[in-house]
């Protein structure tokens, strides 16, 4: 029996059987109201029977009614933004006043496999809830928290509609394996790999359905995820139904996006003048008479709209929430567009006197993408501005550079940017459904013990077609191009764990979890035929299918003594099908302690300190994402029909042995973390700092192995070490929080330093071993970055430019760095890096009588950029080309290089920046309507409002640090309307 069947046929029925005939116990009903210090009633506050897992929410008037087992003695009241209150039950009415608790000390934090009280945390975990999310036209969920969390760097990919971001939690711990954090939605870890046809796998989740993010940063928090904890864990909790009464929320937003700048190339007149002064008569004869600003032509003002509706409430005792979303986003690059339809349903009924709680979440989305041909971006930069857009020819009427002898499009010249855009259709449809059902059973005879079973599934299906008509210059020689692709992925999950949570007077509070996890992934690329523009089948795509499985056992103990001494330990044992049975299992332990000094007598009554906690943790996490599924097998691969070899008159498909490392194993990262949390003045000021050191060994690297020792020169193997050190500071200010006026701010800054410590199986005694990385545009196979021991990963590997007395760079003259009298590749030195030395975020929110003003600033410092646009468009664009001309970057006039000097450090620029991601102003009309429970909000947001930087290119924020062909991020202005009743 395979495991999926096992889940379906045995475990679930077993659970249902277990609960089938449980008797009902004695109960009592308590009612009351919940208000804040000003007497305002609080709707949506949570009321829980202590130790019982019975929870209700207050209605729109702040009233509640809860039926609890007769034995219940205390109720716990929580509400977002307020401190927790625990109140003894006396009589049938309990009214409470909640106090604003800005440090959120009383809140419950979502951790791996359960929740924990923030007070009891030993780990570095940051929670961002809906009210603190970034505002504006956000399509991809991670953008909601950009700049909000210390140690979390979210770099938006590009301006592509629905595009994703690069997320890094405390830098990168790996080189070739994945550096992406694990993302868990309602208990279902998502697959790291994307799906064909999607610009961004996360964008399939509607940001409007998200309630909170919990970011687990140190090993004390992430080790429970074992082999997937190294890069941090982001737990996304979606919105659930709360109150019994139906509530409807509708929101709508319209946005207008415009490009901010274009690449600084020569105008038609400047270009003409330059060509006339620098080139020969033949070259000058190619000049045209037009004045075409190609970059103006490929971009547009793009419009987007986004609509969401949600219904939530409770059909007696069954809270639910249902939402629908639709977003249609145009890209500023013509022909790019995405739209997404999404639906989600969450139902959380309770049975057997609340002993069994079931939570069902289902979300589905369909995204349709129109991808623009981004080749048009560099083409628009380089295309001769003196040429017209249209011409009379057989290439669809677009002006193209032709080879004079054959009359065919010139292979070496840029193709018409508009032709590239309009003569290519690249569409995809991606469907994704994620669902889970969780059974949470509290044992009748031992209410402190719960058994939780979570079964989930994540399915994605991506397909698309790319069509280029036969007259298009780009594919004229092949009579057009037609490609179809199809990919399916699925990921099934079972988690079963026990949780024992008991608060014992004098002995302390014990929270113990132990469980088992099974998760399996499958990818399948069905074979699809490929045809040319005439409909003739050229070949068909490869059929591919692969699976991998991860099985885990885990346990965690959190022990709190006297509310002040906290001990936390966890261990996880993971088995992965990606490794040979001998190396398959890895153990990932963590241990942590915390001391809540605030509870000590010397601080207990302090009016200045409202919180003080010291934390230390150490843990080991692993990594296996980002490598192939069968790397340890001696595999053989058949060649395609186009890579056969001839024997006699026959052609034979070849069979190639693949390189492999039978001894492949987990990459492991040990992390030390020390943290200090401080709260001042009743929580008006919150401060938190964490110092950490992550050391990764057995790095899964695709690296060179000794020649002759394997079946290729590079093998995925465990090699090398990497260390990342850093310090984070967070400051939360909530100085004013009255009914009329409130102001809160968050400032966070992170300093990071990473160093490659080992790259080879043996220590590199030459000090020269370098792995080239970072391919650039221009030439073929040129790489500008490198990995080398003792340096920052992906440091730029460049020649040191020599300048003349007037400060002008001298073409081809570089410093002889090793002093051997010859300037060759050995003289390229490692200089700077694309990763910042520090990055910060600042967000603030002001509320005054229904007005709301919020903005987020994000900064990055010490990061460098290789300006590939500038290095690639020098004078040889007009002097060395024959039969065509290319435009130049304005910098080419200053440097005066006649040939490309790709490896000169002249092209490295400091790309530190400060960006205003969004500025938003809102007004709550609900105040005017004076109707309880009714909200109506108008808002306006400027997204990507301004950038302060010295970088000369379009945008200083490009992950990877190579500026070339970036789909520019637009500035977007949006107007939104929210209505709730």
């Amino acid at each position: 029996m395979n495991c999926r069947n096992l889940i379906a046929k045995l475990i679930l029925p077993a659970f249902l059987f277990l609960f089938a005939t449980t008797a009902l116990a004695q109960t009592k009903t308590i009612t009351g109201k919940v208000t804040d210090v000003n007497g305002t009633r609080l709707p949506g506050a949570t009321v829980t029977a202590k130790g019982q897992n019975v929870t209700v929410a207050t209605n729109e008037n702040g009233d509640y009614s809860i039926t609890v087992p007769a034995s219940t003695t205390r109720l716990i009241f929580t509400s977002v933004g307020f401190g927790m209150q625990e109140v003894a039950i006396s009589g049938n009415t309990v009214n409470v006043t909640l106090r604003v608790d800005v440090a959120n000390l009383g809140e419950v934090v979502v951790v791996g496999y359960g929740t924990q009280r923030r007070k009891d945390l030993t780990a570095s975990i940051v929670t961002v809830t809906a009210e603190d999310f970034n505002k504006g036209p956000i399509v991809s969920p991670e953008q909601l928290i950009a700049g909000k969390v210390a140690g979390v760097q979210i770099t938006p990919g590009s301006g592509i509609p629905g595009g994703g971001s690069r997320i890094r939690v405390r830098g990168s711990a790996s080189l070739d394996a994945s550096n992406n954090p694990l993302i868990v939605i309602d208990g279902v870890p998502l697959e790291d790999a994307g799906i064909s046809g999607s610009a961004n796998p996360l964008a399939m989740i509607n940001p409007n359905d998200i309630e909170s993010f919990n970011i687990l940063k140190d090993a004390s928090a992430t080790a429970i995820y074992g082999s997937r904890g190294t890069n941090g864990v982001i737990i996304i909790t979606t919105k659930k139904g709360r109150s019994a009464k139906l509530r409807v929320d509708y929101s709508s937003m319209v946005s207008r996006a415009k490009r901010i700048e274009v690449v600084d190339v020569l105008s038609a007149d400047e270009f003409r003048a330059l060509v006339k002064s620098k080139t020969n008569a033949t070259q000058q004869s190619f000049l045209g008479n037009a004045n075409t600003n190609w970059q103006e032509l490929i971009y547009r003002t793009a419009w987007s709209h986004d609509h969401n509706i949600s219904l939530s409430g409770g059909i007696p005792n069954i809270p639910y929430r249902f939402s629908l979303g639709y977003v249609d986003q145009q890209g500023i690059l013509r022909t790019s567009e995405m739209d997404r339809k999404s639906a989600s349903l969450s139902v959380s009924p309770s049975f057997f006197d609340n002993h069994l709680r079931v939570e069902l979440n289902v979300r589905a989305s369909e995204t349709e993408n129109d991808f623009a041909n981004e080749g048009a971006i560099s083409s628009a930069v380089g295309f001769d501005p003196t040429q017209p857009v249209r011409a009379t020819n057989r290439y669809g009427g677009y002006f193209e550079w032709l080879d004079p002898t054959s009359g065919l499009p010139n292979n070496n010249a840029y193709k018409n940017p508009l032709g590239l855009l309009y003569q290519r259709s690249d569409k995809s449809t991606v469907q994704r459904a994620i669902g889970n059902i969780q059974f949470d059973y509290k044992f009748h005879f031992l209410p402190e013990l719960r058994a939780i079973v979570n079964v989930g599934s994540d399915r994605a299906d991506g397909r698309g077609t790319v069509t280029v008509p036969k007259e298009a210059a780009s594919n004229f020689r092949d009579s057009g191009f037609f490609n179809r692709y199809y990919q399916r992925r699925k990921n099934d999950l079972l988690d079963a764990y026990f949780n024992y949570n008991r608060d014992m007077e004098r002995i302390g509070r014990v929270d113990f979890t132990a469980g088992y996890g099974y998760q399996t992934w499958e990818q399948e690329n069905p074979r699809v035929p490929r045809v040319n523009a005439f409909g003739t089948v050229i070949d068909s795509s490869f059929y591919y299918k692969a699976e991998h499985t991860l099985i885990s056992f885990y346990g965690r103990l959190n022990y709190t003594f006297m509310d002040r001494y906290i001990l936390h330990a966890s261990v996880r044992r993971d088995g992965s099908s990606r490794f040979h049975p001998d190396n398959r299992w890895g153990t990932f332990p963590s241990v942590a302690v915390a001391w809540r000094m605030k509870e000590e007598s010397f601080l207990k009554n302090s009016n200045i300190f409202s919180d003080m906690k010291l934390r230390f943790s150490y843990g080991v996490t692993g990594q296996q994402e980002g490598i192939g599924n069968y790397e340890y097998f001696p595999r053989y691969t058949y060649s395609a029909g186009t890579a056969q070899y001839q024997f006699g008159n026959l052609f034979y498909p070849t069979i190639r042995p693949e390189e492999y490392d039978r001894d492949l194993k987990w990459e492991s990262t040990s992390t030390y973390n020390a943290g200090l949390d401080l709260g001042f003045l009743g929580g008006k000021i919150g401060f938190s700092t964490d110092v950490f050191r992550k050391s990764t060994k057995d790095l899964l690297g695709f690296v060179a192995v000794p020649a002759g020792s394997n079946l290729s020169n590079f093998v995925v193997t465990n090699v090398g070490e990497l260390e990342t050190k850093g310090i984070e500071f967070t400051l939360n200010l909530n100085p004013i929080r009255t009914k009329k006026f409130s102001w809160e701010s968050n400032f966070n800054i992170t300093f990071l330093e990473a160093e490659v410590q080992k790259l080879t199986l043996i220590p590199d005694t030459t000090g020269k071993y370098t792995v080239a990385r970072g391919g650039i545009s221009g030439g073929v196979g040129n790489m500008i970055q490198a990995l080398r021991v003792g340096h920052t990963p992906y440091a730029f590997q460049v020649y040191k430019q020599v300048y003349d007395a007037s400060g002008k760079p001298i073409q081809g003259l570089y410093a002889d760095m090793n002093g051997d009298g010859v300037v060759n590749t050995d003289d390229r030195y490692l200089y700077k890096s694309p990763e910042p030395k520090s990055y910060m975020g600042f967000s603030t929110q002001l509320n005054y009588l229904g007005w709301n003003l919020a903005f987020t600033l994000r900064g990055s410092f010490g990061n460098y950029m290789y300006n590939n646009i500038s290095s690639n468009n020098v004078q040889s664009n007009i002097t060395s080309t024959t039969n065509f001309l290319n435009n130049l970057h304005r910098s080419a006039l200053e440097a005066n290089f006649t040939n490309n000097q790709y490896f000169s450090d002249y092209y490295l620029e400091n790309a530190s920046f400060l960006k205003a991601d969004n500025i938003s102003l809102g007004y709550d009309l609900g105040r005017l309507l004076k109707k309880q429970g009714m909200t109506a909000r108008l808002s306006a947001t400027v997204y990507n409002a301004f950038i302060i930087t010295d970088y000369s290119g379009l945008d200083p924020e490009i992950s990877g640090g190579i500026d070339n062909n970036l789909y520019p991020r637009p500035r977007t202005v949006s107007v939104g309307f929210n209505l709730g009743f």
């Binding site: 495991c3 096992l6 077993a14 659970f15 002898t405 054959s406 010139n410 292979n411 070496n412 079963a496 490869f542 591919y544 692969a546 099985i551 099908s577 599924n629 097998f633 001696p634 595999r635 053989y636 691969t637 058949y638 060649s639 395609a640 029909g641 186009t642 890579a643 056969q644 070899y645 024997f647 006699g648 052609f651 498909p653 070849t654 069979i655 190639r656 042995p657 060179a704 192995v705 000794p706 020649a707 002759g708 020792s709 079946l711 290729s712 020169n713 193997t717 043996i762 590199d764 005694t765 030459t766 370098t770 080239a772 030439g779 196979g781 790489m783 060759n824 590749t825 050995d826 490309n900």
Partner: protein, 524 residues
């Protein structure tokens, strides 16, 4: 009752946990493993085909995708493209106008251990050796018996194995020639993380010599194998080349041994292609002069390297791509005036081997990056001998003549000039004049005496752009130092003296750092 349920539940969970760990034994679904692939005798020929294809293509997808080696652009990564560049760009025969990474270092002769093109050559050599070792290991008599493969299947597989040994010897010969003392691995080394030992150049010479001698008994008779598969003649030719350069590799002259092997090659039934240019066309597989080719096909053996590279890169300027059977030139390769001036005139009107394109080109090279500086070469074409277009305008059909009879003739002549005991001067003159008569179309170009200076130039005239030049110049003492200067030798327009250490390429920095057993070649 309740406790019973709990027990039952726990039991079921425990059962589930234990049985589920079996799911960790995931096996490839699409890919085959060594266990399954060698069970079927029909697969062996496909694996052998890969050993040959390793000289031609870059990976399993053709023209690109699923590359064989990493660390360099896949299009650059083919064996032949790298071999061609290492042997030609470093000499008077070719310059290339591309600014790709450290590529210009070849002609500038200032390469270092970090040069990625040298590393790609080295990695290709060891890729071939690794694959050959794996095949030899998996086709041992014991393994075949284990798999119950016998009869005709086993007999065929033994021949395949001998060809794998030939291909390994070929790559080791290249290693000896270009890198000197190198890592040494055979079928007795298992695949995995270990540090191969470094073998001395002379010891590896002996190993390759013995291998080729042994193979003489195992390979198929000359001319009796399928086209493109190695036979005895290919092994004789390789052994002859080894002996010809023995003085460079080991310090010992072996010209008599070389001539003995060449005599066998010459007597094996090959004949000169009547028309010189037809050795380099899309249908050159029909030629009876080619002893060992590396094959290409526009539809079925596609690559961005190999002959696709050579044919496209030679075309640019005012050359009409259609006249070469291709859809566009890559504006890369030209030659220096030193090669051009070895011919009586550049158009082929006198010596038909002078296949230069001069229109729009200048003889002098002022800027290597400008295609029109230096005469272009029109030797290779994707048109057939009758002028028909190859099967695809991008990917060429033209095969690469790695070994051909003319080379055997010239080596024989050289062996005799260098050591009178190697053979007869009259025979040598006969061979040389056979080539010259083909070139001139008459006995007008015939010579009556032979000396080394004539022979090195004659080798250039006959064999330019066939990836012999670097080895030849070293053997004649003209590669480094001051005895022969060509345009842009040493990176200056008129050329200059360069250091003798350049006769060997460096062990790539990447391998030096990953294998502690390696000592770098002097001067790097």
């Amino acid at each position: 009752m309740k406790n019973m349920r709990i027990l039952l539940l726990t039991g079921i969970l425990a059962f589930g946990i234990v049985s589920c760990t079996k799911d960790l034994d995931r096996k490839p679904i699409v890919e085959v493993t060594s266990a399954s692939v060698y069970a079927n005798p029909a697969n062996y020929k496909g694996i052998l085909a890969k050993l040959y294809a390793g000289l031609a293509v870059s990976g399993q997808s053709g023209p690109d995708g699923q590359p064989d080696i990493a660390g360099i652009d896949e299009g650059f990564s083919t064996y032949l493209r790298q071999y061609w560049k290492a042997q030609e760009l470093t000499t008077d025969e070719a310059v290339i106008g591309w600014n790709d990474g450290s590529l210009p270092d070849y002609h500038d002769m200032d390469w270092g251990a970090g040069n990625e093109f040298i590393a790609a050559m080295y990695n290709r050599i060891y890729y071939q050796i690794g694959l050959c070792n794996e095949f030899i290991r998996e086709t041992s008599d014991a393994k075949l018996a284990e798999r119950n493969i016998g009869g005709a299947d086993a007999a065929n597989i033994k021949i395949y194995r001998s060809e794998a040994r030939f291909l390994r010897a070929l790559s080791y010969y290249h290693a000896i020639d270009m890198f000197g003392n190198v890592p040494f691995v055979t079928e007795n080394d298992k695949v995995g993380a270990f540090f191969p030992i470094q073998i001395k150049r002379a010891d590896l010479f002996t190993y390759v010599e013995n291998e080729l001698k042994e193979l003489d008994a195992e390979l198929v008779a000359a001319g009796a194998n399928e086209y493109a598969r190695a036979d005895k003649a290919a092994a004789w030719m390789l052994l002859a080349k080894l002996y010809m350069n023995s003085e460079v590799y080991t310090g010992t002259k072996r010209y008599v041994d070389a001539a003995a092997q060449l005599n066998k090659v010459i007597a094996a039934g090959f004949s000169l292609e009547p028309e010189y240019k037809n050795l380099f066309t899309a249908d050159n597989h029909l030629s009876n002069e080619i002893i060992f080719p590396v094959t290409f096909d526009g539809m079925r053996t596609r690559t961005w390297g190999g002959m696709t590279f050579v044919v496209h890169a030679e075309v640019g300027g005012s050359m009409n791509p259609g006249a070469y059977g291709i859809d566009g030139g890559w504006w890369g390769l030209r030659t220096t005036k030193q090669l051009v001036n070895k011919f009586p005139e550049p158009t082929g009107a006198v010596d038909r081997r002078a296949m230069f394109h001069t229109a729009g080109q200048s003889l002098e090279i002022n800027d290597i990056f400008t295609f029109t500086d230096g005469y272009a070469v029109r030797k290779y074409s994707n048109l057939t001998s009758t002028g028909a277009q190859g099967s695809h305008p991008t990917f060429v059909d033209t095969d690469f003549p790695m070994f051909r009879l003319a080379d055997a003739y010239l080596m024989y002549a050289e062996a005799v000039v260098r050591d009178g005991a190697a053979g007869s001067m009259a025979t040598a003159l006969g061979y040389v004049n056979a080539l010259r008569q083909r070139a001139y179309g008459s006995p007008a170009g015939n010579v009556t005496t032979l000396d080394l200076d004539f022979l090195i130039d004659e080798r250039a005239r006959e064999l330019y752009w066939e990836a012999h030049r670097r080895t030849d110049l070293i053997r004649f003492g003209k590669f480094t130092g001051a005895s022969y200067i060509w345009a842009w030798k040493g990176g200056v327009k008129d050329g200059k003296t360069v250091s003798d250490h350049l006769q060997l390429f460096p062990i790539p920095a990447s391998d030096k750092a990953s294998n502690p057993n390696l000592t770098q070649n002097p001067g790097y």
